[in-house]
């Protein structure tokens, strides 16, 4: 009874209402010639099908497997990532931060939900949640435990709060026992969360 008792049984109504409100707005904007519905379709297609964490995984695996690329990536991530065809909106200025046995990096945006879209796509709900945004800077180790990751005290945690237009990608550690794997097999190991810093890459 502490929370609004209407919340649960009102949820479906609320969702149908959002559908109606968005539809009404889109209809108005199209009637006024302000937006092109085909452009909306193309935008949705881009983020549903073209831009997502597989892009970031390619960057990571190339850095793991190509020392010259890794050097370029650490020196100027924006340019090195663009070599692979990823660039633009919400990734105009990229920085890659590297995990090592002594350092673990974690990316957050406390003020809104800034996130490196060209390499990771749109952020997951938890990344945009008040819980993550509030706690990542004051209790990063507690947040990592919510993901099942307990770090020893002597591993330094570096939290990157994306307060400007610099976007951060974590370069996770390559796990042992992956020497013989193909690029494709390596890329499959690199999940979205390993590039935000809420997970480590698991050995295959």
């Amino acid at each position: 009874m502490a929370t609004d008792p209407d919340h649960d049984h009102g949820h479906d109504n609320h969702l149908s209402e959002m559908v109606l409100r968005v539809k009404a707005l889109e209809t108005l904007l199209v009637a006024k010639g302000l937006v092109d519905p085909a452009a909306l379709d193309a935008m949705i297609d881009a983020y549903e099908n073209k831009i997502g964490p597989r892009n970031g995984a390619r960057v990571v695996v190339k850095a793991w497997t190509d020392p010259a690329y890794k050097a370029r990536l650490m020196e100027d991530a924006t340019t090195a990532i663009a070599e692979l065809g990823y660039s633009g909106a919400q990734g105009e200025h990229m920085v890659v931060v590297e995990n090592t046995p002594a350092v673990h990096n974690l990316v957050v945006c406390t003020l809104c939900s800034c996130y490196p879209w060209p390499v990771l796509g749109l952020p997951p709900v938890w990344y945009k949640s008040s819980a993550y945004r509030s706690r990542a800077v004051i209790d990063p180790r507690g947040v990592l435990q919510d993901f099942g990751l307990t770090l020893p005290d002597d591993v330094a945690v570096r939290v990157w709060d994306s307060t400007a237009e610099i976007r951060y990608l974590v370069l996770p550690e390559r796990p042992p026992g992956t020497e013989g794997l193909s690029v494709e097999a390596l890329e499959a190991l690199v999940t979205r969360d390993t590039m935000i810093g809420t997970a480590r890459v698991a050995a295959p």
Partner: protein, 219 residues
């Protein structure tokens, strides 16, 4: 502004709850909202900082209650109304004011991927010299602007170390008010967790923020 959006360091929001196999959108309307807000942005009636500020200025209880895309919808409407792209009357009726001309959308389907890949870089060339250099000790200023700022409360008054100079970038505080880009040097500043949160923090941990020159003083 010291808004509820500035939530770094707050308690009480519970655990972080990852979702297995999360879809890009949880319902088709979310994708429409994303696309509508960005397509309206192509009119260049506002900038990213004003867009963020329109979300920060939602009523605080709504800000915490609404989902991300609900906030984006509310913000798209606020921005479109504020820029005169639509009117309150049109919004209420859902009908175009017949006396208003029908426009031509600036963003077509063919332009979407090129626009995404181009983005909107905020780096600007400047003749000014940077005031700070990597390794220098700085202190975040004790300012409390009532309008948009990207200096979170949790670092104000705190001492950190410059790690990196990113060159000059558009200054959000002025840009959000449509008072010009006023590019300033932007620096990554490292703060030790103990400086921010006291003795109970892990001594090796740190928080790194990208802060404009106007947010910083010599320590």
């Amino acid at each position: 502004m010291n808004g509820v959006h500035d939530m770094g360091g707050m308690h009480g929001f519970g655990p972080v709850e990852p979702e297995a196999n999360e879809p890009v959108f949880h319902a088709p309307w979310e994708g429409r909202v994303l696309a509508i807000r960005r397509a309206l942005g192509a009119w260049r009636k506002w900038n990213i900082d004003a867009g963020r500020h329109s979300i920060e200025t939602l009523p605080p209880a709504d800000y915490l209650r609404m989902s991300y895309y609900e906030k984006w919808l509310a913000s798209a409407i606020k921005l479109a109304l504020g820029a005169g792209l639509i009117t309150e009357r049109e919004l209420e009726t859902g009908q175009r004011d017949p006396s208003a001309p029908v426009a031509t959308p600036p963003l077509t389907a063919a332009m979407v991927m090129p626009a995404i890949l181009k983005g909107s870089p905020t780096h600007r060339d400047t003749a000014a010299k940077p005031r700070f250099a990597a390794g220098q000790a700085v202190r975040a200023r004790d300012i409390n602007p009532t309008s948009h700022t990207r200096l979170p409360r949790y670092v104000r008054g705190r001492r950190g170390t410059v790690e990196r100079d990113h060159g000059a970038h558009v200054f959000p505080d002025s840009n959000a008010r449509f008072e010009g880009e006023n590019p300033q040097y932007l620096y990554t500043v490292r703060f030790s967790a103990r400086e921010l949160w006291g003795e109970s923090a892990n001594p090796g941990d740190s928080v790194h923020l990208d802060l404009w020159e106007g947010y910083l003083d010599v320590a």
